[in-house]
Subunit: 370 residues, 4 copies
């Protein structure tokens, strides 16, 4: 549905960029889990603007106000809906008055009007990336349960910016941590590549321009058996959730596009039994941890491509609401590259999908699988 | 949900590869539309195996038996659920007895067992690509309504096989027809490339091996205003629907991954007003017809990557259900390359998503938009 | 949704009274449960017409053809959708040709046309009570799982017909069995009342008229903790499911309307701890086993009122599709009283709601409750 | 789903009685409708406690804070989710500390613990009737659109309290207004009956006791064609929505239980064509405006029964969480009769269901019905 994601764990988000506030209602979260204030704050801090010269200088502390769903005395979840609200403290709606009369290229101005007959011009309204604050908070809640119950770790990083790619030899996704990711301003764990990426972003900014790139993500520790064929395949739900993020252009699972250039004999992942654990494992992981839409116990690997930010600071041809040609020159605060802030967003969407499927897997067979 | 796709137009599919049959229930299809028997038959014929040497020799006529939802006298839709059933006429369940005791590499054998505690071994059960027969029939129904109401045309084609790509200069997606696509056995409208693709497929088959590739698809004539932010973005729903197809590895919208290497000034699509129609248009279409998750009236462009077929005819290392190592040698009937048959599947999923959103767009504002 | 019921266990039904057939797809049913052919057949036999002089003489064997979802070798459920289809063997569509031109009073003829612009006239189309065959089959499947896992027993009976009520002193709902219910043709376990009911039905039939009544139902053995506030309260889901049955007019839980005439001190159910089991119990059960929308471990008690059958064999004033007044005289095969056949329908709807909530309760808290 | 109601117009509510606040997110509301602040405030005022001696003295101004979904400059709806939040200003959580250790009879204390393993004791947590504030606000929004588009009027009233019934001869449901309903403190438009009801409530209060009763409701002006067979019948959705209100015990449509005592010839509603309007009408309206689950254009009539309030001020037998018997004596602020405040709650639920179905009816056939 439009503003609800998930089946068994469901989030419903609301809010425009400038206005009373944004928020999320999480329904279906099990009772009895300690509410993870710190984890939520940490992920919100990684998402918020104003983190450095690479991101928008807009200042939003983005603290979650928890309205419901948490036990007043013990701080554990109640099983009832958890509502979190984020006030729009640094809103400057009048900064956008001029924009209300024209359609910014490759923004959602025109399409929102085509759909709804009107739009909230301030800050892009609901189409603003600020909407993702609600997702990141909900995602942090979800991943806390995944971590508590299965020790699952979800780590995303910037793997490519403006065509500059991290080296797969340098980035060890089996051991990568968020701390390691955050060690560079661009959230790329290959420091040499990171330097070049930062330079490319700076160069684009100097030109009043913007760049895009690729975020990769791994989820380690997901048990075999999650994912619900045929339309609720893990692949499908991950793709749908991630491609709902603003500015996304492509989604890859496992080897992704590269898989199309392998033969079956190269791409297939042979099974073996791990001598120590007795678990069925695969020797390679071209599949990215998912086969037939269901997790196989290997690390889930995916990638999401983001286009260059649509707001550039160069004159652009466009039209007014009245259909008159006009040259548009953007002002205000914007990221020259959305990638570093996209990292916690990607983690959040992955966490929400996995947590939903964790619950669904619990009831997939007569004998509860715990 | 697991076996239901869509919100307002909803399909629910069922069935295993070998057994009583497969089927689909289409709910929410408007009353009063002539039931398109011919279009459904045509798309099923394009999907079915046994079309030529490139595809599996399994013979299934795949005629849809319509059980409900169509007026007995006029043949128009009733507004009630439309059920279509497909018998499994050429089923040979015992051909699969041996497979029941081991896990075929990169198939869903192991993961289905991990999830459900058991699996239907015959023909891959529900994980078989045969399941898509139900989707293709429902998709043809959906696209018939899109065509009748808005003149929408959805055309997919094989754009790359085994690394051999069609030339963008040769494939004119603005005028491409299904007849033109079907002119080559591999469903690639670039004949020169098609020849090479066919040779690559033949070579793989000779080696007992398989290849993957890329299907591209355009939807022409979609009005501006379809798509429901934030989780029901057209991008998200298309990605989720297409990545629910078997063997998919990646999804791209518009310029896809290539967009990450453009600067904003290159990627943004400038607006102008078409002198003749008065419509707001974009001079380029890097966005692929969708901005902010909502259609902008330009052609929707997307791509879906498929891995090489998992069934190869070479010995493979794997394990039995008891955890014993075993060498597996496949027998039976399988496609060395799934791409030609994937073309109508991709079209079907696109049609289903668009038709769902056509209905949702009708009620997105107080003034019905027709 | 229109033709789908339930959240975690979901059924989707399809089919018109006369045509290719009716059916149901059950999604979300756990894997590994032996498919209960006998129980399904038994409940279908109780629902089918032609059981005796009290019901329609239409002959339909109503055997379920299982198309999918059951393991071909072991007969247990696969976890994939279970599709059951019922052919319309005794269909006589042309018997209804005259009806297509007028609106039968208190049938759905006019309202279906108002909604859909057309209708399937044969046998009432989708509005026919024949549609319930699909529900009864699915309900029997659901109750089999409830019985296997928790020993739950669901027993409904006819408690009132034409104002003639069974005596609460005679009907012991704590020990009542289906065999006892079926001991009278009218399915009322108070034999003295049953005789009078049968006489009332016969008298109505002789007059070309019809009568209504009340079905009561108990569900014994439901554990405490099922039901999902606030819109998924057990009360709400039971009410919605039961009032979706044809001809229903009222729903009561626990004391129902009678509760409105008690004071709180009379209606409240005092808690105590059962010495033997240690369970928290209530001394009375005015609440009908549900408090705050969640089961409390006591027997669930509810009632459903059915109106007199709309098809009477007396001249009735109505209008044609062209708006001309006409006198309508029904012909054909119809029940003078729907109550006896409604008994398995009520049981089915209760079973479906409970089974859905059983699954939902399993994941309501961090510690799985088994 | 648990905390979401509706399919196309969907509300998701959250919040406990004492805590950060309650709220509702309305998704699917069409763009372009002037946000009805006044109507919402009016209905909230009718729902709030502290209106007089008949209701709880708890003081909550209950003003809706609108966080999103409304255009900042024109005040019309944006088509995006509308979030309304209600702070818990008069919360006194510590007044409930004692209650945390025992189970109040016929409250949800025990069942919430059975389900979730814990509960929020303050004010009943999510089981409190305070939760309905969110429904009433959303319902007022929905009914404003129904009124604007179709002139629909929804009027509920208290028809019976403690066995004292209003006279059907006095209450003219065809012309009844909310002002007329509000003319008596008990919201019964039969003044003579109202006096007796008030006396009965006072008597119960003097005894430390409580009473229940019946709310009736009409919806005038609903066009023919709303309601979606088979599980989305208007009857089913109304029953489910209304029985999700706290303290409900029964639901009736049309003649309700009384229909069971009529013969078909008495209960059937003959059709005729209205000479003036040309509309198909029924001479009687035993069906309550719905046939086959779809509206027929006549006034929708329904009734909802409420049990006596569970909180009484007399000693009651119960048990502690540790299973010890204890005598419980309630303190605090409670309504001796919930009926007067239930009137706007019933109206809200009816409005939400009808508005959902208005949107669904718009797309039920190929030719949009406007």
């Amino acid at each position: 549905m439009s503003n609800t994601l998930g089946h068994t764990l469901r989030i419903t988000t609301f809010g425009e960029s400038h206005g009373g506030g944004l928020g999320v209602v999480v329904d279906g979260f099990p009772a009895g889990h300690p509410f993870p204030h710190a984890r939520i704050a940490a992920q919100l801090a990684r998402r918020r603007p104003g983190q450095g010269k690479l991101t928008s200088p807009r200042q939003e502390k983005d603290a979650a106000t928890v309205l419901s769903g948490v036990h007043s005395q013990t701080g554990v979840t109640l099983g009832t809906p958890i509502a979190m609200v984020f006030a729009n403290k640094d809103a400057r709606p009048h900064a956008y008055d001029d924009l209300a009369q024209l359609y910014r290229p490759s923004h959602a101005d025109y399409t929102y009007e085509a759909r709804y007959g009107l739009r909230e011009a301030a800050g892009g309204g609901r189409a603003s990336a600020r909407e993702t604050v609600a997702r990141v908070a909900a995602g942090a809640l979800a991943e806390d349960l995944l971590a508590a119950r299965h020790g699952i770790e979800i780590v995303a990083w910037v793997d490519e910016v403006a065509g500059i790619a991290a080296s797969a030899d340098v980035v060890d996704s089996a051991s990568l941590t968020r701390a390691r990711v955050d060690a560079t301003a661009v959230r790329c764990p290959d420091e040499a590549a990171a330097e070049k990426m930062i330079a490319a972003i700076d160069a684009a900014r100097s030109d009043g321009d913007t760049v895009g790139g690729l975020v990769r993500c791994v989820a380690r520790g997901v048990p075999a058996g999650w994912g619900a064929p045929v339309f609720g395949k893990l692949t499908a739900d991950l793709a749908g959730a991630l491609m709902s993020l603003p500015a996304t252009r492509a989604f890859e699972i496992g080897d992704g596009l590269a898989a199309t250039r392998l033969r079956g004999s190269e791409h297939n992942d042979p099974f073996y039994v791990d001598a120590e654990s007795g678990a069925v494992r695969t020797r390679t992981n071209h599949s990215g941890g998912i086969q037939g839409g269901i997790s196989n116990g290997e690390t889930i690997r995916l990638a999401v491509a983001f286009k260059p930010t649509a707001t550039i600071f160069r004159p652009q041809e466009t039209v007014t609401r009245d259909g008159e040609p006009i040259t548009f020159q953007a002002k205000g605060r914007h990221d020259p590259c959305v990638l570093p802030r996209a990292v916690p967003m990607v983690e959040a969407m992955v966490a929400l999908v996995l947590c939903d499927h964790m619950l669904r897997a619990q009831i997939a067979r007569v004998e509860p699988s715990g």
